[in-house]
Subunit: 462 residues, 2 copies
């Protein structure tokens, strides 16, 4: 009962029927105005949007009021983007008005010395008094591509375009800057954003709350960028219940990184080794870079999970077999010798240079590719495939498309990399909707996290 109530209160952050933007005005460079503009002109938000400013002036078509309490209608969500000093007063007004969901995008709180800490405490006590759920302060806001809602400040065209591409990945990001890189990069990928929340100093709503929320909506993969963990026990307890893949990239892992994080979003970074082992116990996949936040989810949504670590590599350029063998070995994957049965089957097909693993072929027509790959995927000594074929002829694209079907048929995944320039890889991925990775290293990482998720799921299902 409590859980449902809790979830439904968070839901107003993502699906409000009406919004007040507090601090939106017509002054030059006003950030609140960019939110009003995004809602009215770009999204064409169907509900009412109110602007709150001293002069009660209309902003980008949103009716203006000088106070929150003066708004003559119900408001689901308030977005505050004013100087920090006046934020507590507006939170109080929100409470009086009956608003129970408030996003504070303003900076200048606990990340900035004693004075900021005091302001944050004041905000917290009003929130508690009125039963308000708070997002932020010091955050970018919320984006929901499913219902097309966005209260990011300063969103430029590229960001707003992303609202038109609904995907399966929901993001919790502590910093807006990382969100922007993710949004831009996913425009060049086959997976897209479901929802994105920037949590900043997370004085109330934190990563665990959102993990729980995303577990109950249509999110397929949950991905997070964290500079610190608010409550380790709470996060791990929640994660253990969630069966959707949870990917986390955490900064502040070295002393220097932690010091930088402290002055950015005010959280104490946590010990990296402890965090690592806690993640493993709770079934959280820990990532190694920002780029993995947007590049790896497609492996989890487009391919069967990897059920063992025995990988066959297939390439049309021998060098990639050798390099991939190094990368896979270092990543803890096994490169099994193919059985005599498998080798015999492969040997019957023309154009194969090596029937050993990695399998290496010369110039050959598409059917040779398909016959070989089918034999490899069917082999009981193989759990998954690393496919590395450069697009030397257009038919390779058709081969890749067919391999995806074969993978589903055999219940084994393929991580696909085409040894070409990134420009070419991206254009093939976008144009044909194929889960192709930017590098061999990334493809191998995708295999590793796929198996990690498979192992976690087995444990969680018990």
């Amino acid at each position: 009962m409590d859980k449902i109530k809790h979830s439904s209160q968070l839901d107003k952050f993502f699906n409000p029927a009406s919004v007040a933007v507090i601090g939106a005005s017509n002054s030059p460079f006003n950030l609140g105005a960019t939110i009003c503009n995004c809602l009215t002109h770009y999204i064409k938000f169907p509900g009412p949007v109110f602007a709150v400013n001293r002069k009660a002036e209309e902003v980008s078509g949103c009716a203006g009021y000088s106070s929150v309490t003066g708004i003559p209608a119900e408001v689901d969500l308030a977005v505050i983007i004013t100087p920090a000093s006046v934020v507590p007063e507006f939170v109080k007004q929100c409470g009086e008005k009956g608003i129970r969901n408030v996003v504070i995008e303003s900076a200048g709180f606990s990340e900035q010395g004693e004075e900021g800490k005091n302001l944050q405490q004041e905000v917290d006590s009003y929130a508690k008094q009125y039963g308000i759920r708070l997002l932020g302060p010091n955050c970018l806001g919320v984006m929901n591509n499913v219902s097309r809602f966005c209260c990011f400040y300063g969103a430029y065209d590229g960001i707003m375009e992303a609202l038109n591409k609904v995907g399966g990945v929901s993001y919790v990001i502590q910093s807006g800057g990382v969100g922007v890189v993710i949004i831009e990069s996913l425009m060049d990928d086959i997976q897209g954003i479901n929802k994105m929340v920037s949590i900043g100093n997370k004085t109330d709503v934190d990563e665990s709350d959102l993990l729980e929320y995303f577990d109950s909506d249509n999110t397929q993969v949950i991905a997070m960028y964290l500079e610190n963990v608010a409550d380790g026990r709470k996060l791990m307890k929640t994660a253990r219940r969630v069966k959707k893949p949870i990917l986390i990239f955490k900064s502040g892992c070295t002393e220097a990184g932690a010091a930088a994080a402290l002055s950015h979003t005010a959280g104490m970074a946590n010990n990296s080794a402890v965090f690592d082992s806690a993640c493993r116990q709770a079934g959280i996949i820990r990532l190694k870079s920002i780029s993995e936040l947007y590049s790896l989810p497609k492996m989890l949504t487009e391919m069967p999970l990897l059920k063992g670590n025995r990988i066959a590599a297939f390439t049309n350029s021998g060098a990639f077999g050798s390099i991939a063998a190094d990368i896979m070995t270092e990543a803890g994957l096994a490169i099994p010798r193919l059985s005599s049965d498998t080798r015999e089957k492969l040997g019957k097909i023309k154009g194969v240079f090596n029937v050993n693993n990695p399998v290496d072929i010369g110039p050959a027509p598409p059917q040779v590719y398909l016959d070989l790959i089918d034999i490899i995927l069917a082999a009981p000594e193989v759990d998954g495939l690393l496919l590395m074929s450069s697009i030397w002829r257009d038919f390779v694209i058709d081969v890749i498309r067919e391999v995806i079907n074969m993978c589903k048929h055999h219940g084994k995944p393929a991580a696909i990399y085409t040894p070409n320039s990134i420009q070419r890889i991206i254009s093939v991925r976008k144009q044909f909707g194929l889960p192709v990775f930017d590098s061999m290293e990334e493809a191998v990482r995708a295999l590793v996290i796929s198996q990690e998720q498979f192992e976690y799921l087995k444990k969680k299902e018990k």
Copy 2:
């Protein structure tokens, strides 16, 4: 004397006045014909090109002869692309004809069992008898963007386009496939190819010979992809004399990788730790991935070398400061605390969030960026800059351009990353000719190898 003679003989591989393509015919899918076509139609090679085939037929405008000895003119370079079994006979004919430079692109030699080994020995003995320098067998050939010569087989439009972009990096690659990725990728970068040689099984000309050759031409950076080292002592002895940066990526570092390399280009891979320490002693920069072969050279040609390891990071999104601090610490770079003098100067400028290192700013006009960066580069406690500013406004591009001038003025390098999608980074890099890296990780690596080269140079100059 011997050195000059040796160099000039190698030079015919890169600058021949006349070429014979042995094995070029009009049969369907003939690979020799693609070489003739490239030379006559794409490059418009000024000298004569002869095709040698059984029927003595003309191929792509190249006069046909049934034997090498029958060609009624002097031939500087022969390119053999026939079945392996007839290669020894053609090498003998080349010797009789007085050709002293032969590229053998055919596969089927020591990488393929006893029979292949015997063929290779036969080839070797003819070469010795006639004083022929051999490139290959089992290779892609030679590309020279300076004089516009290319004898790669199967070169498609994208490869031939690269001939129009002359750059400062010369490549020695053991495998053609890796060459293709480098060529395609450099089309999206600011540095370009000077020359590229694929060495395959390297029965005669090896990486050391080419290192020496590239030391004496207009190459700025020498980069290599190796699966094995032919003669470790020879390579290291040569490298110690060369002051141009030498970058090497080597595969076959794990047992599995070495096994794959063996069946690909027939070389025994060498112990990784031994190779590592030999490289350090000889002043060779060892790379970690294929992509570093094309992404890192621009740091060495466009920026002053890094003379110490103390890096200041500058960002317009706090998260990147924290993440970069982690990456730099792990890479062995130091993130010094700025002196009180420097912090005081920074503090006088409006819009700075953190005057600590990483320096973190909010929305600010271009002059604020430039003033801050100039103070940082001038600080005696700082050896180099990691610049991470997303292109949130177009002026950031102008700022980057000006920072490059500042770097030259202060004699300190900046590694530049813009936290945007790769598409955006590539388009800015290409359009404006700026040395921007694809990721923070790559930018940090660029700083590391820049310092490595500085240290090597100091030792070599002694």
